[in-house]
């Protein structure tokens, strides 16, 4: 969920009203955003860098507000204020207008060389815009917020904004070998080649994260004007030459992308938020995009969609009973201007700022929000069903109850562990274990899904050595095993594991508990091993030779018990004998 930082006084000034913190919090809650933190530059610096650095920092109050991930239209002060004011019924949602260029339209020519790296580009022009310091900052901040969220850290879309009066169209978007790109990047005093820039920015705390997007490509994307001036090298950096300033009057916006839909959304959002500062408010000048195939498409799309929505369906879905005109009012407050149409329908206008509305259900939700979630009458569904437990869980719970009654205490350990936990430490080669391997573990603790419950219980003993002996622990839980019979190639297996740790091994105790479990499950002891259960001596590297047996149930091995091998004991930092039983629960279902 993105968080935006807004200067409180600027916000209240723009809203035309002051709120107490509680009042504003309440308003946010109703609107579906969250006042996350109230702070100031000074407090932030104080917290992060200490008292000394904070001296002289601004003490103006900053509101940090959490915005739902799909509401790109609320990511800047302009959008937030517009959203809230419309929500409060204080203003109407503005109509956005596309206007043709008064002379030759700006054109961005996309070359086919970009197809291998970043194939799409769109563009627009904001004419006669008037920035002040705050709106300028907001313009930059919004690009950053979009880059971080919708643009997926510039991998899907990268935005470049330029002072149109410093460059000369038409513009060319192409992909060139790094060494043939040379320009003076933003905030640098000399020219660099693209390869040099990669080195330059390798240590840049901000830009280095974007380098991998193109670094290994044989060609890098670049936008130039008709004189060969580099506007930008997306998605890394713009050129110094066309940099926008407070005095910029005409802004050329280009978005390059690997996802055309998102590029268009980003462009729409940017121009909708800032066209209010144009001399001709809420107008955007069209640009032509020439595709490698030679076709021409106009951008921004800035499409306003009309949807017919059945009021009945809205009422039914939300669980309210409102007249059509009331529902239309509610929607209008959510920036979805609606009018009552024929046949109990509403005609709902979905503006280019609301790309999150992709289905009627999104409209239903906005009705519910405007109505107030907490004003909806609570009712119980009439759904009549008979409940049942998942049989394996039911048996598990019954067995757990019995194990606790037998004096063992339940541990709860992690399903993920290190490779070593299930192999070396248990004296078994990893290759012999059908374990599921994680491809991106952040630490050793998350390398594999456990294939046995034993390591977790032994770690639990290690952490509890100070408790009086004997230590008697159990766990009944799932392990994960590879299984090519399943669609995903793996399955869970419900295991029961008990450990007994004392000055003497206590094999007979663990054995006795197994007998007790079999008694509870009504399974007779049958030394022939065909009908009931039996123990068969076996070799298992985890256990002490000659002190280990398989549990055989109806001819199939379902578990193992024995005295742990001393090397296993010591590899878990233990020093006393330990007996264990691990049993597959599923055959007893």
């Amino acid at each position: 969920m993105p968080t935006i930082s807004i200067n409180r006084d600027l916000l209240f000034n723009a809203l035309g009203k002051s709120y107490s913190e509680e009042e504003f919090d309440e308003l946010c809650f109703k609107f579906g955003i969250e006042l996350d933190e109230v702070t100031s530059d000074k407090l932030i610096i104080l917290k992060e860098q200490g008292t000394e650095r904070s001296v002289g920092a601004s003490e103006e109050i900053i509101y940090k507000i959490d915005i739902p991930a799909n509401r790109y239209d609320l990511l800047c002060l302009e959008g937030l204020v517009q959203g809230l004011q419309v929500f409060l019924g204080e203003t109407e949602f503005p109509p956005f207008k596309l206007i043709p260029s008064q002379k030759v339209p700006q054109r961005l020519i996309v070359k086919s060389s970009t197809s291998s790296i970043r194939p799409y580009a769109v563009a627009a022009v904001l004419r006669n815009i008037c920035f002040d310091q705050h709106t300028f900052n907001s313009f930059i901040d919004l690009q950053d917020k979009l880059h971080q969220n919708l643009c997926r850290k510039r991998s899907l879309v990268a935005i470049g904004t330029h002072d149109l009066d410093t460059v000369q169209g038409p513009f060319y978007y192409e992909a060139l070998p790094p060494d043939s790109i040379k320009f003076q990047p933003l905030n640098q005093t000399k020219e660099f080649t693209a390869s040099q820039l990669m080195d330059l920015y390798a240590t840049d705390s901000h830009l280095r994260h974007y380098l991998p997007i193109i670094k290994d490509s044989p060609v890098y994307p670049v936008i130039k004007d008709s004189n060969g001036v580099v506007l930008s090298m997306p998605p890394i950096i713009n050129g110094e030459h066309s940099k926008i300033t407070l005095n910029t009057k005409n802004v050329f916006i280009e978005c390059t992308a690997t996802d055309l839909t998102k590029a268009s959304i980003v462009l729409d959002t940017l121009v909708c938020m800032f066209s209010r500062y144009c001399q001709d408010q809420f107008t955007v000048e069209i640009c032509e995009i020439e595709t490698p195939q030679g076709g021409i498409k106009n951008y921004p799309i800035l499409k306003t969609r009309q949807e017919k929505i059945d009021v009945n369906k809205i009422n039914k879905m939300v669980g309210i009973n409102e007249e059509a005109d009331k529902v239309a009012d509610l929607l209008t407050r959510m920036c979805l201007t609606a009018t009552v149409a024929e046949n109990g329908c509403l005609s709902v206008t979905i503006p280019p700022t609301r790309h999150d509305i992709i289905h009627a259900c999104d409209v239903y939700e906005d009705v519910a929000i405007a109505f107030g979630y907490n004003n909806i009458e609570k009712t119980l569904p009439s759904t009549n069903t008979i409940a049942s437990q998942f049989p394996l869980n039911k048996l598990t719970d019954q067995l757990r109850e019995q194990l606790a009654q037998a004096g063992f205490t339940e541990a709860l350990t992690f399903s993920l562990c290190s490779k070593e936990d299930i192999s070396d430490k248990l004296r078994k080669p990893l290759s012999s274990i059908p374990a599921v391997h994680v491809s991106n573990p952040k630490t050793l603790e998350f390398q594999v899904a456990r294939s046995t419950l034993l390591p977790g219980l032994l770690k639990t003993i290690a952490a509890n050595r100070k408790l009086p002996l004997p230590l008697k622990f159990f766990e009944v839980s799932d392990v994960v095993l590879k299984d090519n019979q399943r669609d995903v190639g793996a399955r869970n297996c419900r295991k029961l594991c008990i450990v007994y740790y004392n000055k003497s091994p206590g094999f007979e105790l663990v054995h006795g508990l197994l007998d007790r479990l079999m008694q509870l499950l009504e399974i007779p002891l049958d030394p022939t091993g065909t009908t009931g259960y039996s123990l068969k001596s076996c070799d298992d590297a985890t256990f002490f030779p000659g002190r280990c047996a398989h549990v055989v149930f109806e001819g199939v091995t379902v578990g193992v018990l024995g005295v742990l091998h001393p090397e296993v004991v010591t590899s878990f930092d233990l020093n006393l004998p330990c007996s264990a039983l691990e049993l597959n629960v599923e055959p007893f279902l």
């Binding site: 002051s18 609107f31 579906g32 969250e34 739902p68 991930a69 509401r71 996802d259 839909t261 879905m317 669980g319 999150d356 289905h359 009627a360 259900c361 999104d362 519910a368 979630y373 907490n374 909806i376 009458e377 609570k378 009712t379 119980l380 569904p381 759904t383 069903t385 008979i386 409940a387 049942s388 437990q389 998942f390 757990r400 109850e401 194990l403 037998a406 205490t409 339940e410 541990a411 709860l412 992690f414 993920l416 994680v438 491809s439 991106n440 573990p441 952040k442 603790e445 977790g456 770690k459 639990t460 952490a463 799932d478 994960v480 590879k482 995903v488 190639g489 793996a490 399955r491 869970n492």
Partner: protein
């Protein structure tokens, strides 16, 4: 040994009738501790002897004290060290340095100053180098005498002592006294039962004040106990448990089936554990996958879709499921294939997130999920079910916040009020599954699916007061904690749980009573308004007040009322026969000047004011209105404020929002409680008003945030307490109030 001594002691007791352990120790020349041991062992025999413990404080000399007792006090030694001819300080100090000297340098320093101040010695500077000489011919060393006394047992107090507490027993024969000691049996044995010897034996009494021996026992894990409770709740509500025993899931079921786009940040390796082996899934139902692909890339089912290039490779990537909703998706798909029937499902099982770990976040946790699928379900249904669900957990106060989730629309975050933390905390997420998720599965179009989820760990941590999740889950858990953990009763609030401070409860009660009153008042006003309209807003009011306690605020409000209204108003003022003394002209005419028309029928507002001996609480009555009197200055003021609002449509009291009205009420209540609690000086209240007005925001009025809002509270309190306020701000405020 003890027993031998015991018999000796018992004999002594028989002969002497009583004994003291200290004295016996002297008498028998035996270590006192041994005697005490004997007494204790005799005490175990039952009522053979009675013994009472005495503590006596004994004085004993420290090493320094012993020295003083032997050689004299430091000052005396210095005195004695000075020869008649006198001596220099270094000379005397040199004596202190001699091995085995009776005093040390430190002592000598003390001795010099002490001897000087006692006037025993003096400094003689007549012959060049300063010399110490004896000033008096003889001295009496009291300190030494006292210490000598103490050493021999005489008790004369000084500071040179260390105290020693000596415990001794004062004994006398008990109720079953005998001089022969029989050893008591500790417990019944099989032999005693066989031989019948238990009949003649005496048995040692049990110490019932000690704790019993811990019972060897096993325990269930706290988190699993909470899980059992949640499971029970779902089962009570008719939900069927889903088979969630598949941690490994494909991206398809975990994300794509839920209409979560392939570029969604949750699908980043930063957030999800992907698998190296087995890396991919097969056997995704082909038709269904095609429908999912279409709805993602092109839309359909009334949706615009996400408009991107959906890739099957992305869907095939295996992962550790990030939510149990992946299982819900499989269940709903299966439900659609078998011919839809309404269903209620739940699960509580592990999910995995490759997130940053901290005190409350682990890479794996348990998710609780509930799902209801039926025709025509509404958001109101979801809210209703959630209230019932959380009510079973003992949570009654809920509220819902709009939220975003890729697979539910509408989506609601569930908040509950946490009385301990004094704030609303998020406790779960909920919503209605998107049609883009349900329709490709083949579910009928008019079927809705409600769902909600929460973590198991969080409520457990809150329930049992854990602040680090590693104390609850994982191999590092202290198993003693598991043993000591109480029953899980989620609807009961006890024990370690963060409790609601009492004052908060009080505040709650107070708020409730204010709200009840507000509602009552609202009804009154509505009635009044209706009545007013029905009879051309005519209103006749009788106010009774005591001339000894003139209700200044009521008078002010009546003046404001009359001034605000260009309509005929009549005020008549009477005095009641209960008054001992006639009212002054001022009192009788305070509102005369604005009286306009005495013909009551034409007037919209007729006020009859009666001075009466009724004490400090004035009373108002609306004529032709059967409700009882409105008593007390604040209550009458409220009534008039409401009248003012209904006539002028200004915001003054209840025309503000509920919070502001409550704030106004609060000020009036403070004034009332001053009256009732006998703080007639209103010092506290006056201070509060001063503080409020002096607050740094530079407010102009008492109520609301800067700059505040003028209200009944301002008029009321400025009239009544204005003369008690003296700050500049307060004066400005008063003049502002006066010009109302």
């Amino acid at each position: 040994m003890a027993i031998a001594h015991g018999e000796k002691l018992l004999k002594y007791l028989e002969e002497n009738g009583k004994a003291n352990s200290l004295k016996l120790s002297e008498l028998w020349n035996e270590d006192h501790q041994k005697i005490v041991g004997t007494v204790k062992s005799l005490l175990c025999l039952g009522d053979v002897i009675e013994a009472e413990l005495h503590s006596t404080v004994k004085w004993d000399l420290t090493e320094e004290g012993k020295q003083v007792a032997a050689h004299g006090s430091h000052e005396a030694q210095i005195y004695n060290a000075i020869p008649p001819s006198g001596s220099t300080q270094p000379e005397i100090m040199a004596q202190a340095s001699i091995p085995n000297a009776s005093f040390t340098k430190d002592m000598a320093k003390v001795g010099f100053s002490k001897a000087m101040s006692l006037g025993w010695i003096a400094v003689d500077k007549s012959s060049g180098a300063p010399k110490f000489i004896q000033k008096v011919s003889s001295i009496q060393d009291v300190v030494q005498e006292h210490l000598k006394d103490l050493a021999t047992g005489k008790n004369t107090l000084t500071n040179e002592l260390r105290t020693e507490v000596v415990k001794s027993y004062e004994m006398k024969p008990g109720s079953s006294f005998s001089t022969s000691v029989t050893k008591q049996e500790t417990d019944l044995t099989p032999e005693m039962i066989a031989s019948g010897s238990w009949k003649t034996k005496e048995f040692k009494a049990y110490n019932l004040n000690a704790l019993g021996t811990p019972v060897p026992r096993g325990h269930l894990h706290p988190l699993m106990k909470v899980r059992a409770e949640f499971r029970q709740i779902f089962l009570e509500m008719g939900f069927t448990e889903m088979p969630t025993n598949n941690y490994v899931e494909s991206s398809f079921w975990n994300f794509d089936a839920l209409f979560q786009p392939q570029q969604h940040p949750a699908r980043d390796a930063h957030d999800t554990f992907f698998l190296a082996d087995p890396a991919t899934a097969s056997d995704i139902p082909t038709d269904y996958m095609e429908r999912v692909k279409n709805v993602h890339s092109h839309g359909g089912y009334g949706s615009q879709g996400y408009g991107y290039d959906w890739k099957v490779e992305e869907a095939q990537k295996n992962l550790l499921r990030t939510h149990t909703t992946a299982v819900s998706a499989r269940m709903l798909y299966a439900l659609a294939q078998g011919g839809f029937k309404p269903a209620k499902y739940f699960s509580i099982d592990r999910v995995f997130r490759n997130e940053t770990l901290d005190a409350t976040h682990l890479a794996e946790f348990h998710q609780i999920e509930g799902v209801i699928a039926d025709y025509g379900l509404t958001l109101g249904n979801l809210i209703g079910v959630l209230y019932e669900f959380f009510r079973k957990l003992g949570i009654e106060k809920l509220r819902f916040k709009p939220a975003y989730n890729p697979y539910t629309e509408p989506s609601m975050e569930i908040f509950s009020y946490h009385p301990g933390l004094k704030k609303w905390v998020e406790i779960g997420n909920s919503g209605i599954f998107r049609p883009e998720m349900l329709l490709p599965m083949g579910l009928p179009e008019d079927v809705s699916v409600l769902a909600w989820g929460l973590s198991l760990e969080r409520p457990t941590m809150i329930k049992y007061g854990y602040d680090n999740i590693r104390d609850l889950v994982g191999p590092k858990v202290n198993m003693q904690m598991v043993a000591d953990n109480p029953l899980c009763r989620l609807d009961k609030h006890r024990g370690t749980e963060i409790k609601e401070p009492e004052y908060l409860q009080e505040l709650d009660i107070r708020m409730d009573s204010i709200m009840t009153r507000l509602r009552g008042i609202e009804n009154e006003v509505n009635k009044l308004k209706k009545q007013g309209k029905g009879s051309q807003e005519k209103l006749t009011l009788v106010i009774e007040a005591d001339p000894n306690y003139p209700p200044l605020s009521v008078q002010t409000l009546i003046r404001i009322l009359m001034a605000s209204r260009n309509v005929p108003v009549s005020v008549t003022i009477h005095q009641h026969s209960s008054l001992k003394k006639a009212c002054s002209t001022d009192l009788m005419q305070w509102a005369k000047s604005t009286t306009s028309n005495l013909n009551r029928i034409d007037n919209l507002f007729n006020l009859t004011w009666i001075w009466k001996s009724i004490g400090p609480r004035p009373a108002a009555k609306v004529v032709n209105h059967c409700n009882g009197d409105i008593c007390g200055e604040a209550a009458v003021a409220r009534l008039l404020a409401r009248l003012l609002e209904s006539w002028t449509d200004c915001a003054f009291y209840e025309n503000y929002d509920l919070n502001t009205t409550a704030e106004i009420d609060d000020w009036l209540d403070m004034w009332e409680s001053c009256i009732q609690s006998g703080d007639p000086t209103f010092v506290v209240l006056a201070n509060r008003i001063n503080n409020r007005l002096n607050s740094s925001d530079g407010r102009k009025w008492l109520i609301g945030s800067f700059p505040g809002t003028k209200s009944l509270a301002d008029v009321f309190l400025s009239t009544l307490l204005g003369h008690k306020l003296n700050s500049d701000r307060a004066k400005e405020w008063l003049s502002r109030c006066n010009s109302f």
